[in-house]
């Protein structure tokens, strides 16, 4: 009773504990983890998933889900690799960054239209559009190749302001904007729609518009993720986003945002995304045979997901 009360008030508590535990394990296996250089290197790898997770969290908060985000990431990667290319200019790159963000918003609007105004099931709708978007990515760039100018990519990869990677500016900015959004009506509406859409509707909350907007946010964040991951790799890959969709959803859940909606936020999911990144580190540093790595990776994720359930079961049996 007390624990569940606490977890409702502080949905991030559990995700913080899990994050801390995996961090300690990682430190045990790789002592350099807390050194500046390693942290920067890690953060630049983690940032794309963090961005994607933040967008997904907003959708899940209202009781929806967006399966198509990975494919939007792929479209962005394909577009940048073909339209800008390794020989492109800085101006060209920036122009296309702007264009792909609009593409993300458009893709999100398509999802949002189907889900909110046509009232289709989010999971089915975005599953279907994920193939549409994924197909477009492959049409634009049939196989991995191309890229963006190294000059631009290096800004992300090596030239950080004040010795801290961009992630250290972007993530606090994300969290701060979330704190601000929570203080607005829009923030309240997100929780109300996810908590009980019918009650929100009867209270004059514009439910359809809110649901629509979450998919636009998610599409925008997916495009941002696409830019980020292209900066990281420097090259194009039309399937680079595929595995990221489920990772983002997992990160949201580890972060204490319920799939049923109405509880949570984005700070927890961001911690969840970092946790997933560290778990990958652990697996690669634990000298596990290659073919066991996926297995171990997902075992750890499963345990992290199940932890609250086990605690509750244990408490029930004791009382």
């Amino acid at each position: 009773m007390k624990l569940s009360h606490l977890s409702l008030r502080h949905p991030y508590l559990l995700s913080a504990i899990i994050f801390f535990v995996v961090l300690v394990v990682n430190f045990y296996l790789q002592e350099s983890i807390l050194e500046g250089n390693t942290i920067n290197n890690n953060m630049r790898v983690f940032l794309p998933l963090v961005l994607l997770t933040a967008g997904q969290a907003v959708v899940i908060l209202t009781g929806g889900i967006d399966i198509s985000v990975g494919s939007i990431v792929s479209i962005v990667s394909a577009l940048l690799a073909t339209r800008v290319g390794l020989e492109g200019t800085v101006n060209q790159t920036l122009t296309w960054f702007g264009i792909v963000l609009l593409v993300g918003i458009l893709a999100g609007s398509i999802n949002g239209f189907f889900v909110s105004y046509l009232r289709l099931q989010p999971i089915i709708t975005t599953y279907a559009t994920s193939f549409f978007f994924g197909g477009l990515a492959l049409f634009i760039l049939p196989q991995p190749g191309g890229g963006i100018p190294a000059k631009v990519a290096n800004v992300y990869r090596t030239n950080y302001p004040l010795g801290l990677h961009w992630a250290f500016y972007v993530i606090p900015l994300l969290v701060l904007s979330w704190v601000a959004i929570r203080q607005t009506r829009y923030g309240r509406y997100l929780f109300a729609v996810g908590g009980r859409a019918q009650a929100a509707y009867e209270t004059a909350v514009p439910v359809n518009q809110i649901i629509f907007s979450t998919y636009v946010v998610s599409g925008f964040m997916a495009a941002l993720t696409g830019i980020c991951i292209t900066l990281l790799t420097g090259s194009g890959n039309p399937q680079i986003g595929d595995p990221m969709t489920l990772q983002a959803i997992t990160a949201v859940v580890i972060g204490g945002t319920a799939l049923s909606g109405g509880v949570g936020g984005i700070a927890g999911p961001i911690l969840g995304a970092l946790t997933l990144g560290i778990i990958k580190n652990i697996v690669s540093f634990a000298n596990i045979d290659y073919w066991w790595q996926t297995f171990v990776n997902y075992m750890i994720i499963l345990i992290a997901l199940a932890a609250p359930g086990f605690i509750a079961l244990f408490r029930r049996n004791r009382s």
Partner: protein, 504 residues
């Protein structure tokens, strides 16, 4: 400020079903209009048309004489029409204050929510009902942690917070106790004096007689009568509601006279749960034992514990055998049945068919593969014995009216022929005609030897039907009413915790 609202010849269809064929009402500033009718008469639909939750298919709404159209609750609210919804419009995971001001939060610099202002305003609102809710209740509590009466109060405050010209109270008293109803009525009189127009929907005749100035009666989707309350009495109103149907009157004569006590079937000793603080009781064979008192005094917990649905401490003896339930399955094996209080959530699979709902506890008796022909025969038999009004057994159960849906829940247990029947406020929101049938059914079950533990929030029902009445107060049995001590005065007194021990 004066205002008036008029609904003229309102028509509303849901799919092929006509819920309202000719709904009319007029309500003016400074009066309380009682909107009355049996279940399924179209009351809810008419209120939903007026507050914009559903869009009408025909007819016209006039506000201050001007035609109005709205396509959402938002539009209705803008025109000053607020509703206290029967199925509360609260978001469970948000706090009391957040819920009251949802979509109307006061803002600082046009963007950020002014939580200080919210605090002040919520405090002022909560003062309206001060003293009738728990002292520990706070505006920062999540809605999901509140008991039903406080939820209802929050819902009322939420509607009032927009300072409406027209206020619709749809069964707003259903979860409130006497004190809270009393306070609400004081407030209603005050709002009336301020010039608000109030539409009052309730099943409790006593309250209608008490608060309403005028009435409008709906029957089968049509407005059949309107008039001044001072020209009618309870009986006249009821007969207008039910039309030609006869009204079953509760008379003491139906009750068997003092007989030799029959053997005990169910004995409970020092039963405790989170809410119940030590309850002893005995239900005999063929006894109808009432469970009364104000709402939320532990009646629900007692019934759930006896059904093995929640953990408990204490001793339960059935037919001289001690039992220890940790799952409802075990209770069902001991031939216990529970008709739960929340019909739609606990009692029914609302989108599944009537047949499936009836058969749910009994499928094991129909072999493998399931003998559908026999199940349909049995289903038909139960349906006709309960006078179930339906088109076909294969219709979804949510196509039934409240009273008929309740019959399905009872029917599903009757198929198992229970020896002990636990009823948690089974007539809540059920129309007069169905109630009468239900009372007859209880009498019949009792004469067949079924032991019935019957919780009701309707005092008249308990007084009229039960052999004995246990009155619960704050998790304990405050009084046991037997024979001549079964009077309304005793029941109300014990409910309020006024009298100690047995009144015999």
């Amino acid at each position: 400020m004066t205002t008036s609202l008029s609904a003229q010849n309102i028509v509303k269809r849901y799919g092929g079903v006509v819920a309202l064929s000719d709904g009319n009402l007029d309500v003016y500033s400074g009066e309380v209009l009682a909107l009355i009718g049996a279940n399924g008469s179209g009351k809810s639909t008419l209120t939903k048309v007026i507050n914009g939750v559903v869009v009408l298919d025909g007819g016209q709404l006039l506000l201050d004489g001007k035609p109005i159209n709205f396509d959402s609750p938002h539009a209705a609210k803008k025109m000053g029409i607020a509703t206290v919804f029967q199925e509360l419009s609260l978001v469970p995971k948000m706090t009391v204050a957040e819920n009251i001001w949802l979509a109307r939060e006061p803002l600082r610099s046009g963007l950020f929510i002014d939580s200080k202002e919210i605090k002040v305003r919520t405090k002022n609102l909560l003062k309206l009902f001060e003293g009738t809710y728990r002292i520990s209740m706070s505006m920062d509590d999540p809605i999901s942690s509140l008991p039903p009466d406080e939820l209802q109060i929050v819902e009322i405050l939420k509607a009032v917070s927009i300072d409406p010209n027209i206020l619709i109270l749809d069964e707003a008293t259903a979860s409130l106790d006497n004190r809270q109803v009393h306070r609400l009525f004081e407030l209603v009189r005050q709002w009336k004096a301020e010039g608000k127009a109030i539409i009052f929907v309730s099943h409790r005749m006593e309250e209608i007689m008490n608060i309403a100035d005028r009435y409008t009666v709906l029957r089968n989707g049509k407005t059949v009568d309107s008039g001044d309350m001072k020209d009618v009495d309870e009986k006249a109103l009821v007969s207008r509601m039910v039309g030609k149907e006869t009204v079953y009157s509760l008379s003491r004569e139906d009750r068997p006279k003092e007989e030799e006590p029959k053997p005990a079937r169910l004995t409970v000793e020092s039963l405790q749960t989170g809410v119940i603080k030590g309850v002893d009781l005995t239900v005999h064979e063929g006894e109808l034992l009432g469970l009364g008192g104000l709402k939320g005094q532990g009646q629900r917990d007692l019934l759930l514990a006896l059904f093995g649905d929640i953990p408990y401490e204490g001793k339960i003896v059935i037919n001289d055998k001690e039992v220890d339930f940790s799952h409802p399955n075990q209770a069902i094996k001991e031939s216990i049945a529970l008709v739960p209080g929340d019909r739609s959530r606990e009692g029914l699979l609302s989108i599944r068919s009537i047949l499936e709902n009836l058969m749910l506890p009994s499928w094991t008796n129909y072999g493998f593969p399931l003998n559908m022909r026999r199940s349909i025969e049995d289903g038909d038999r139960v349906a006709s014995s309960l006078n179930l009004v339906m088109r076909s057994l294969s219709d979804p159960v949510n196509s039934l009216s409240g009273g008929n849906a309740q019959k399905v829940i009872i029917g599903k247990w009757l198929l198992k022929k229970p020896k002990i029947l636990l009823l948690d406020d089974p007539t809540k929101g059920v129309d007069v005609g169905t109630k009468a049938e239900f009372y007859r059914l209880l009498q019949q079950l009792r004469s067949e030897g079924t032991s019935i533990l019957f919780h009701s929030s309707d005092d008249e029902e308990l007084l009229g039907l039960c052999d004995r009445i246990l009155v619960m107060f704050e998790g304990k049995i405050r009084a046991t009413l037997v024979g001549a001590s079964i009077t309304k005065a005793n029941l109300v007194a014990a409910s309020m915790g006024a009298s100690e021990g047995n009144i015999a």
